[in-house]
């Protein structure tokens, strides 16, 4: 299969067209490649695709993080605590250097505290979870580079 040539000029002009015409969706096909640009009009789209709900939109920013080689993902469902106790400094902050095995977070489930160790040495470049946030399996919590 040939590589899909991502033409961002094309996408930009299609998006502009949407704005100008008030359409919600344009699909453009040429030479075996197809692009569809859509605009969320605020109404749930009918049955051709299942509606995207709030939880999906929130996670869409996270999608790109999931595949980051330094992504630290949650091994379980629970509540994340970024500090050992309320009022104490967090385990790690952005910019910190961590070594493999160092505790980065605690995930609490069923009243047991589970420390989350750093999978390798590196520098914390992003912290994606707040103190007390509920987390699901596979959720990206931090990024180490």
């Amino acid at each position: 299969m040939e590589k899909f040539q991502f033409d961002d000029d094309l996408v930009r002009s299609l998006a502009k067209l949407l704005e100008e015409t008030g359409l919600t969706e344009i699909e453009f096909e040429a030479e075996g490649q197809r692009i569809r640009v859509g605009r969320n009009s605020g109404m749930v789209a009918p049955q051709s695709q299942a509606p995207f709900l709030a939880s999906e939109l929130e996670n869409s920013g996270e999608e790109s993080e999931r595949h980051h080689p330094g992504a630290v993902t949650s091994p379980m469902v629970g509540t994340a605590y970024t500090m050992p106790e309320p009022g104490t400094p967090p385990f790690v902050s952005v910019g910190d250097t961590v070594s493999e095995g160092q505790t980065m977070l605690i995930i609490e489930a069923m009243k047991t505290m589970n420390p989350l160790p750093a999978p390798r040495d590196g520098k914390v470049v992003r912290v994606l979870v707040g103190n007390g946030d509920p987390v699901e399996f596979g959720e990206v919590l931090m990024i180490i580079e």
Partner: protein
Amino acid sequence: MFEKILIANRGEVALRIHRACREMGIRTVAVHSTADADAMHVRLADESVCIGPPATRRSYLNVPAILTAATITNADAIHPGVGFLAENAQFAEMVAEHDIIFIGPAPEHMAIMGDKIAAKATMAKVGLPVIPGSDGPILDEDKALKLSAKIGYPVIVKAAAGAGGRGMKVAHNDETLRQALPTARVEAKANFGSDTLYLEKFLEKPRHIEIQILADNHGNVIHLGERDCSLQRRHQKVIEEAPSPALNAVTREKIGARCVKAMKKLGYQSVGTVELLYENGKFYFIEMNTRLQVEHPISEMISGIDLAREQIRVATGAKLNTAQKNIHLTGHAIECRINAENPETFVPSPGIITDYHAPGGLDVRVDSALYSGYRVPPDYDSLIAKLIVRGRSRNECMMRLRRALEEFVIGGVETTIPLHQRLLTETDFINGDYDIHWLENLLKPVA
């Protein structure tokens, strides 16, 4: 009424429960494995929590993950669906300990019915007919042989902790019984964790008839008639119909009343199904499923009662709002279980659904979580759709079902639709003249 229900299941069952919740204005939480992140019910649910990787043990059977998900989402109740933890008494207890309502019967009834020996003994005590057999575990070969001589061959050896029709062995004489016992023990231990066996008379050509029970927490119990689930392959149901072509109104009323009386004596709550074998005009209790069943829609189609909704209602403590005398079963319904399998070899066929078009029309219902572009994961059972059709008569129902099957498009994977189409042309099926061995005999390769 509950504000939020966590659905601890997947596939079309989870979608079914989600629908019942939404129709009552209840918010839903879908817990799912990574393999089900794009599942229909996950996309439709108000909230979703990924609880683990694809493996069932680490996701849909992962009790701590499910309980934690319920806690962090503040769910009022958990609906366990069908299979997975639906008949797990310990899970039900743990849910209650977390101050969350488990939508199902009391843990003690789940435990009794989960132990097939205890279930039989209990049901005999509350007045249901049972199959003659060991009435307890078989502890040694001699006793097994003596008992078989008494009740008469053929006999069947079953695992006390068994489920899903697995691990059962038939013996036609002393020799085969001697061979079957140790094998059955080993298999039972491997599949169900316990090598306890029991023995029963094996009925040669029975029909599988089951009675749908609905009970509230106030002692009111009703039944919604029977379902005939005799069309099975390897103990898995393929087609179910309600009412059974083999029962008349008098027989139905009698066995229904007997089951209701037994349930009242037990103090049973929620939905449940009493499964029986029926041969030569006699019923024999085999097991009870203390949950909603896959084939519940056919009972819904002929009674007009939404079973998932009622199950949720009674879990809030509400009283049943229909008395037995107001349950009217009209028409005839048939369900085809459509699996993602080759229709002849039954080899599973997971993959991406390229085209999807469900049949429609009066009294045609499709319970399925499929959509065009959906990837059927290889990690779970192969049921991908249930086609449920009703007619004013059995003939009209079959005509409608034949028509609906013609329209059903599921592209990208192999399905058992051709098998269902074939079964609808078989004279025996058309005449309603089949027993629990019929389908397997039909499918046996011709020598």
